[in-house]
Amino acid sequence: MTLRRAFLRQGAAGLGMVALRSMLRAESKGVINPLHHPAKAKRVIFLYQAGGPSHLEIFDPKPKLASMHGKPMPDSFTKGQQIAQLQGKPLVCFGPQLPFQRYGKSGLEMSSLFPRMGALADQVCVIRSMWTEQINHDPAHTLMNTGSILPGRPSMGSWLLYGLGSMTEDLPGFVVLMSNGKGGQNQPIATRQWSAGILPSRFQGVKLNSTGDPVLYVETPRGISHSLQKDSIDTVNRLNRIRHKQVEDPEILTRISQYEMAFRMQTSVPDLVDMSKEPKSVLEAYGANPGDGSFASNCLLARRLAERGVRFIQLYHRDWDHHAAVKYGVEMKSQEVDKPTAALINDLKQRGMLDDTLVVWGGEFGRTPMSQGGDGRDHHIKGFSYMLAGGGVKPGVVYGSTDELGYGAEENPVSVHDFHATMLHLLGINHLRMTVKYQGLDVRLTGISGEVIEGILA
């Protein structure tokens, strides 16, 4: 019996059973209630490829760029545009470094190095016309996550939790995982990226760690048994209830329910990360070696989190910053991500969860069609690619395009705000109508723009 139930049975002094129940429930309910329109997806798994994956080696074939290889990049593309590390350097076309091939009935053209993701061609949607505004990692991540570059804006996971509420009483509703790549290009990721910002901090993302405590401080101190921990928490809650009887402060009741949830987390988190009951076939499909902190293990954890009702699951996989040796780098990354990404989508599908899970694959920006140092690519914001699956997204579709050199989004450009608006739409939220007052503004995830991308809705 959970502490909460015990508490409910005994009733809280000074507050009727009904009132207390509704208070506890209200906490897990979102503010968008009822939804603005029927939702297609209930949850999001965002496979965030941090560092800036090269669209030109993965999703966006550019034969013209190949034929221009080594020639100066035409001024008409680059004039007046932002540039990162190539500032003051000659801008030279750099042809695609990896072969592309057609996949599935839809004939999706994608890199040959991602055969398993390619095999899902008829189930996924590739957007080839993403663009962003920030050309350096830190602000670009912040924009992609919060729709703003000012620190203090809520991240998309926090918005979703705030809007839709949690579907679990045993785990946080917004969980972040992180994995490193073998290439060592592991750019920093700040806690700001999963911050609740101006929203109450119960909406912030909780990072799940692969070493040490899976959730910070989730483990009972050494020397204190599980039963003594439970006894301590029960006593604290009883004392808090006595205090509530004296002062009738509703915050105390919230505190009590939070201690109950904390105690449940002490069991549910170890259970979550214990993969010993996963069949070998599943581990093999993902390529997961539990506890290694790899992207593969995190993908499997993502499925387990989704099963347990977590609303927003964000996996950062780092090491995509291929200023140098982009060919070698993307090859290495393909070995890290192709199999687990495909395994996750297949696994969700098999379990009947893909229909209401939106899976997103992409990073903070793309990479230049120009070479950096002869074998790499610099940061690029005018055009890059995203892959989406499940959750009400039209499968087997390529949406939008970049120009012939893969520089700028040309047909159906998709901004960060458009992407956010679409994600919220799929979850039953009109992005214009989920706002929070702050410094006089009706702050929203999509800032002052954002259009739902109708063309990718199923």
Partner: protein
């Protein structure tokens, strides 16, 4: 109307619809709309287009438009109608009207109470009675000092029956340095003070002396106008003192980026915009930040005003792409040596100069000669394959033969990896103690050796700078060698240590100075390279086929786990084998050519002379001392570059108008007689008697500290979208009074001595029901204490708290690997030692992108941005912190020991004592029973010493809602 109408019919010309402005009466009453009606006809609502449209039942006609989702309630519509009927009077916005001291309502002795009671009487509410003495003492002590009262303080107050007892307590608290710590905490949020730069690598930067400036300012009750002036423009004052220059760090506390490949101009704009937002947030309660990209939607703030404000700070010298290492790091800085340090530095400089003068200068042909000799391998290193290696404190050392190793290093803003072959590499693994000593046995064979080399090898797996197994730097504190001949061991004297010329933490000689706290190593090691330290033997060492050389590498500094992860050892027959730095050092070659470097050649030349080791020792001492000198970033004025209005905030747009420094036009102007206005002028305007905002904004923030909510709850927005104050006359009275002397202690004392402040926080049922947010103040508020105070309470009641005022930031223990997501440099964390582990939250190292998790969980802001209003959330993660963070476990144990010592002889009396220490009141019978029960069960479960069971009880006490609540 601001919220519902001004977005389209307000100050922002670019989003204005139908050319209609409703924020200006003149416009609204003169503008004909499409229907032919005037927008507003005073006294005639039915002829006014806005009323017609607001009441329209047509979805296409109704205002605000359906799509805006700003539907008006029936009551709002009627109010609007009545307002038009009554003549549609526009009054200037309250916050921008001059502050006039209103008359104090009659009927109460204390002005604060007079205003509050007046409103309560009008609302038909009665104030709560005064809180009981214990509650009152805990409340005022927590509010003024951030610490709970001690048992002695409680007894003294309870026994002080003479009139004025409470006021005496207030005076005692305000005079305490703890008061300054509490106030500083709030100010530092607003000033966005932190110890790291916030962007990208989030590197540490020298800022803590500014925190101490703020502490001293509050302790010494610096008037607020001077406090303002020194922070904004301390550097512009005539002959600025150290103190005033330190204050000017305020302008430099923006986030800074050292990310390779950033566009400096873009970041200069970001830093500049931050200053405008911060000044507007702290002093003006104005959301000027909105006007970076467009005219303000609700307030008459033009985009031009934003850039004119930014122009005040155009003279702040700073790099757009911040320099993160070396003497130039983070731009202008001030060194703050103590008088003793200053004296010693001067003395060392003299002695160093003498020692240098005694050396023969380098002959011109020396570098050429050496270069030739290096090519001929006359000074080669011979890398050794050790025969054994062990660590004394538990780590495991493994020796490798010829292996392929990858090295990752940074090059021009990105990371590169190279693969090479290495021989004789020693790798540490397994247990990772704070301090560790390695002993490596070499079997060099026959030879005559003059130098020992230690090469550090980088690896991606090493959490600190790819070189050390932890901590915030590598720190090798001593290197010793012994010659072993048969059973005989004799120490080998080392006279000189030389490191490659690059950014190192401390000089190589630190390994020979006999001080276990000082060491050679690598901290800000951005252009990471493998490097080889050269140690010169005092006498040549002859070895035979069977001789062994034992090399001992010690890591005994305060840096925890700053131990070498991978290394090789080499010997050389030459005393001129060069210390090396190499991106690629793992080559199979046992010899390498040094990088031709004049500085190195010169050093090698000098090292041939007898006086050189002494000079090197002096220089090392100087470097170590200099490293200990406190430094702080400061504002240095430069010739101000032109500031342009940037259309939509786009830094690439060079077409905007150039603006001069000016305050927002709607607030007037600064008279300078044609001279360019400066930051000093800005500070003077902010604190001038006719500034309508500063005093109101500051008093509102003070008010929040003592009641949980400001008189206007929008602390940083006094504009049209901000909340109208609940008690405008009171706010004006407080502001006018504050402006009379800008005396912060007096202003605070005034608030906390009011009867309003002293009310009970619960028990006033009618008030709770009618005013659940407690805006009318018919009772006190119940507040969860701020993050730092949660920590401080536990430390204080447990007796662990180290009360020391000021000093470098401290690092509490934090979970291992917490900084693993950082890079540039890759780093770990080294917790402080001794009493520094138990200092107050205000002194905690503020890592902007990875704030200490316990503070973050209790809503401490990252301070990436000016924050004037913290939230107080209530989450399960907070429960996990209080239950399981080791500092709270340790506090519970110390608290238990204290209870046993001071709480009498029985479990019952000890529990009562501890309960009172934690909550400020005696436990009820029921509460006592609960705790006794827990104590009994814990004792049965744990057995052993009484401390163990009592620690379970005290841990429960630290987790009580009441313990972290001020009532």
């Amino acid at each position: 109307m601001s919220d519902t109408c001004f977005r389209c019919h307000g100050p922002d010309a670019s989003s204005r619809m139908a050319g209609l402005r409703l924020d200006l009466r003149e416009e609204a009453i003169s503008r004909k709309t499409q229907s032919g009606r005037l927008a507003l006809v005073p006294g005639r609502p039915d002829e006014s287009e806005i009323i017609v449209r607001v009441f329209s039942t047509s979805k296409a006609r109704v205002m605000p438009p359906v799509a805006a989702h700003k539907d008006l309630t029936e009551k709002q519509k009627q109010t609007l109608r009545r307002w038009v009927l009554e003549g549609a009077k526009y009054e200037g916005h309250w916050a921008w009207q001059p502050v006039r001291k209103p008359p104090v309502p009659a009927g109460a002795g204390h002005p604060v109470d007079a205003f509050i009671l007046d409103r309560l009487a009008r609302e038909g509410l009665k104030p709560a009675p005064e809180a009981d003495r214990r509650t009152l003492l805990r409340r005022v002590t927590l509010d003024l000092t951030g610490l709970p009262p001690t048992a002695e303080e409680t007894a003294a107050f309870l026994n002080d029956k003479a009139p004025g007892a409470y006021e005496r307590v207030v005076d005692r608290l305000i005079a305490s340095p703890r008061y300054a710590e509490k106030q500083a905490m709030h100010w530092l949020d607003a000033a966005r003070y932190a110890d790291t730069v916030g962007y990208h690598g989030d590197n540490p930067f020298p800022a803590w002396p500014y925190r101490d400036y703020v502490l001293r300012a509050f302790r010494d009750n610096m008037p607020f106008d001077r406090f303002t002036r020194e922070q904004l423009a301390g550097d512009l004052l005539p002959n600025p003192s150290r103190e005033q220059l330190t204050a000017s760090a305020f302008n430099r506390l923006t986030r800074m980026s050292a990310e390779g490949g950033i566009q400096p101009k873009e970041y200069l704009d970001k830093y500049g915009a931050d200053r405008v937002r911060t000044v507007a947030g702290i002093w003006m309660g104005a959301t000027l930040g909105c006007a970076e990209c467009h005219d303000h939607k609700f307030d008459p703030i033009k985009s031009r005003d934003f850039y004119s404000m930014k122009a005040f700070f155009a003279d702040v010298e700073e790099p757009g792409l911040a320099i993160d290492r070396g003497p130039e790091a983070w731009g202008a800085k001030l060194a703050l040596p103590t008088p003793e340090q200053e004296r010693r530095l001067a003395e060392l400089d003299r002695r160093i100069e003498d020692a240098r003068n005694a050396l023969a200068p380098m002959p011109e042909d020396w570098p050429k000669k050496m270069a030739a000799e290096y090519t001929q391998l006359k000074h080669a290193w011979r890398f050794q394959q050790p025969v054994s290696a062990r660590a004394l404190n538990g780590a495991k050392l493994t020796i490798y033969g010829n292996v392929r190793m990858e090295t990752t290093f940074e090059s021009g803003g990105s990371l590169r990896t190279e693969t090479n072959w290495a021989t004789g590499m020693v790798v540490a693994s397994g247990p990772n103690p704070d301090n560790e000593t390695y002993e490596v046995m070499l079997a060099p064979g026959e030879g005559l050796w003059r130098s020992l080399g230690l090469e550090t090898i980088l690896d991606e797996s090493l959490p600190m700078g790819r070189v050390a197994r932890g901590g915030d730097k590598l720190s090798i504190t001593a290197i010793e060698a012994e010659l072993i001949e048969g059973g005989r061991r004799s120490p080998i004297a080392i006279k000189l240590a030389q490191s490659p010329p690059m950014t190192h933490y401390l000089p190589a000689m630190a390994v020979l100075d006999g001080d276990p706290k000082t060491g050679w190593g690598i901290a800000e090691y951005r252009d990471a390279r493998n490097s080889l330290l050269a140690l010169r033997f005092a006498e040549p060492v002859r070895t035979s086929r069977v001789s062994r050389i034992l090399v001992r590498v010690r890591h005994d500094s305060e840096t925890r786990r700053g131990t070498l992860g991978r290394f090789r050892l080499a010997l050389s027959e030459s005393a001129l084998a060069a210390p090396l730095v190499a991106r690629v050092s793992l080559k199979t070659l046992s010899t390498r050519e040094p990088i031709p470097n004049k500085e190195l050649m010169e050093e090698l030349w000098y090292s041939t002379q007898a006086g050189y080791p002494q000079l090197a020792a002096l220089e090392a001492e100087r470097a170590i001392l200099d490293h200990r000198v406190a430094r702080v970033v400061i504002t240095k004025a430069q010739e101000p570059p032109p500031i342009r209005v940037l259309a939509r905030g786009n830094f690439l747009d060079e077409s905007g108008e150039i603006v001069e420094p000016a305050i927002p036009a709607f607030l007037g102007g600064i008279e300078t007689g044609g001279r360019r206005a400066t930051r000093l002028d800005l500070a003077a305007w902010l604190t001038s008697k006719d500034n309508p905002l500063t005093a109101r904004v500051q008093m509102n923030r003070f008010w929040r500290q003592f009641f949980g909510t400001g008189l206007s709850k929008t602390l940083d927005d006094f504009g049209a979208q901000g909340e109208w104050p609940t008690h405008p006359e009171l706010l004006d009275w407080l502001a006018a009074d504050f402006m009379s002397d800008w005396d912060m202690k007096r202003a605070i004392r005034q608030i906390v001595t009011s009867a309003t402040y002293r009310q009970a926080s619960y028990g006033n049922r009618e008030a709770e029901e009618r005013d659940p947010e407690n805006r009318l103040l018919a009772r006190q508020s119940r507040l969860r204490v701020d993050a730092e105070i949660v920590r401080d309470i536990a430390l204080s009641v447990s007796g662990l708290l180290a009360e020391e005022f000021g000093g470098p930031s401290i690092r509490p223990v934090q979970p291992e690997g917490y900084l693993a997501a950082l890079n540039f440099p890759k780093r770990d964390y080294s917790a402080s030692h001794g009493k520094d582990l138990y200092r107050r939250g205000v002194y905690v190292h503020w890592q902007r992108t990875f704030l200490h998790p316990s503070l973050m969980t209790f809503d401490a802001p990252s301070r990436e941005e000016c924050t004037v209003n913290r939230v107080a959330s209530n989450t399960p993660l907070q429960a996990l912190v209080l239950l399981n963070d080791p500092i709270y476990v340790e506090a519970a144990q110390a608290f238990a020991a204290r209870a046993i010592k001071q709480g009498g002889a029985t479990a019952d009396s000890r529990i009562a004592w501890a309960f009172e220490a934690a909550t400020g009141r005696a436990p009820s019978g029921e509460e006592r029973e609960e705790l006794l029960g827990l104590h009994r069960r814990a004792a049965a479960s744990l057995g052993g010493k009484p401390e163990a069971a009592m620690a379970i009880v005290t841990r429960a006490l630290l987790n009580l809602s009441e313990t972290i609540t001020r009532n």
